[in-house]
């Protein structure tokens, strides 16, 4: 997602009291992108590329920058921070975004729709299955 170095790498909820920073300081800036909050969501948007006309109405309304745009085209959701608010689905004029309940269901739905591991590769995020259970 980013080439920025995470200066808090290795410091987490399993760190001992000697392993956290003095005063709880957070080293580096703009590092909220390293904190994956996607597992908070209870609903998941599913992108249907066949219906998508690349009008790009969806990405500016996303509160969590979860719709990556490159070369003037949107790609699949970045689920690392998506809370499932579904504003993107509401603004889509072409029915290219479905919203399904849960996280694991979404994965299955998306696997079925797109035939690929749409939710994989979110480093540091608990497994979708584990989170849903």
């Amino acid at each position: 997602m980013s080439e920025k170095k995470n200066l808090m790498e290795g410091i987490g909820e399993r760190s001992s009291w000697t392993g956290i920073t003095p005063g709880g300081f957070v080293y580096g800036s703009g590092n909220s992108e390293f904190f994956n909050t996607g597992d908070w969501r209870t609903r998941t948007p599913v992108w249907k590329p066949d219906n998508c006309r690349q009008c790009l109405l969806c990405f500016p309304v996303c509160p969590d920058s979860s719709i990556p745009v490159s070369g003037g085209k949107r790609g699949d959701f970045d689920f690392g921070h998506c809370k499932g608010c579904a504003i993107c689905a509401r603004v889509c004029p072409f029915g290219a975004i479905d919203v399904v309940d849960g996280i694991a269901d979404a994965r299955e739905a998306q696997d079925g729709l797109n035939g690929r591991e749409a939710l994989s590769g979110q480093g540091g995020q608990p497994t979708r299955k584990g989170a849903a259970e």
Binding site: E13, S15, S16, W17, T18, I20, P22, G23, G24, F25, V26, Y27, G28, S29
Partner: protein
């Protein structure tokens, strides 16, 4: 060259601040500490210091500004008393948790209820669990000396905690005493410069200070403050020893007065120790083996060392200048007894003890009051029962 002078405790504290020349002072006036920022602002106006003086709108803001300045990477100091300190309470905890070695010169005054402007320790005792190092001073000289040591103690890399230097309101803060003031240059050398490892105004390393901590982190952060407070014992010792080598005045965790062969002893903090010493001198003249322990370092609490120092007594009076309203006495009474409990459990000898609450709201404690206490200690030693804690000098 050091020089002899005469000044009040407030002047002594302000002189120490002038010599330390901190980067930032943020303060709000409150009796009896008002003079300290007042003198400091005069020093600033006269060009004697290049401190940034922030005239804030409250003590909450004073401590907040100190936190911001300290997080930015500079030395920050403030002064307060009583309700002013109470208004700082929220931010006192933040300063300690953020590991910012701010120095506060506290002039102890009764915490309001009823409103009163005179000396007792209820203000700083309310901050005793905040994570601040606390040093208590008997007189202007000690207030000055403790302040010269405070920055270095708090700034030691394995400590990084704020430090509170306390003196008694009016009795010390406004009483003019003889004092030795050290040379400006020697003080500057002793205090040294402050170079924090991490700080907000470092253009090469961005940083966030004081972030929200979810429950998987809070207990680890408190554990780290606990360890820093353990390390502060060694820092106080190290800096005090260097102070003695440099300026010749000796400071331990506490002062023992005629304790070598003492059978009856009183333990207390700050200005009343001077009165107590006078009573000890008189009793020694009568052949009574009286002694006194004046606690300088209340946080961290030197439990083992105190227990050892008190162990030889037959009877001990523990004197609190505040009531914790636990219905069992003040905080010193509780903590000193807890320190002795370890010895008792190990089967070692401990003195009988009686707690006293004295001097609230500036009530005088006189030499005769100490004679009363020592008289009661002699009775306690031979088996008479005394209350776990009682009010001294209260009208019955």
């Amino acid at each position: 060259m050091s020089r002899k002078d005469r000044m009040s405790g407030n002047q002594a504290a302000a002189t120490a601040i002038r010599q330390i020349n901190p980067d930032v002072i943020a303060a709000f006036p409150i009796t009896p500490s008002t003079e300290i920022p007042q003198y400091v602002s005069s020093f600033k106006a006269d060009g004697l210091i290049d401190t940034e003086f922030i005239a804030v709108e409250s003590e909450h803001s004073a401590m907040s500004a100190c936190i911001g300045a300290s997080a930015a990477g500079v030395r920050a100091m403030t002064a307060t008393s009583s309700a002013g300190m109470a208004l700082m309470y929220e931010m006192l905890y933040v300063a300690a948790s953020d590991r910012l070695p701010i120095v506060l010169t506290a002039v102890n005054r009764a915490l309001t209820g009823p409103i009163n402007i005179n000396a007792d320790h209820s203000d700083s005792m309310g901050a005793r669990d905040s994570g601040w190092i606390q040093l208590y001073s008997e007189n202007a000289q000690e207030a000055y000396d403790n302040l010269l040591m405070a920055n270095r103690i708090g700034e030691r890399r394995d400590v990084m905690l704020p430090v509170m230097v306390c003196q008694d309101g009016f009795i010390t803060s406004h009483g003019i005493e003889n004092i030795i003031i050290e040379d400006d240059g020697e003080v500057k050398n002793f205090v040294g410069e402050y170079h924090p490892e991490k700080y907000l105004l470092n253009p090469d390393e961005s940083l966030a200070v004081g972030p929200y901590s979810v429950s998987p982190y809070v207990i680890e952060m408190k554990r780290a403050v606990h360890e820093a407070m353990v390390n502060a014992r060694d820092a106080v010792k190290e800096v005090s020893e260097d102070f003695e080598r440099t300026f010749g005045r000796e400071y331990g965790f506490f002062e023992e007065y005629h304790m070598d062969d003492a059978e009856y002893g009183v333990l207390l903090m700050s200005s009343a120790a001077g009165t107590g010493k006078d009573a000890v001198d008189a009793l020694r003249g009568e052949g009574v083996k009286a002694g006194l322990v004046k606690l300088r370092m209340f946080r961290p609490f030197p439990a083992d060392e105190l227990a050892d120092a008190l162990a030889g007594l037959k009877a001990l009076a523990i004197m609190d200048r505040s009531d914790g309203f636990s219905a069992t006495g003040g905080p010193l009474n509780a903590e000193v007894r807890a320190a002795l409990y370890g010895r008792a459990c190990a089967g070692l000898r401990v003195p009988k003890a009686a707690g006293y609450i004295y001097g609230l709201g500036g009530r005088d404690v006189r030499v005769e009051d100490f004679h009363t206490i020592f008289g009661e200690l002699e009775e306690l030693a031979v088996g008479k029962e005394l209350p776990y804690c009682r009010y001294l000098g209260v009208r019955e």
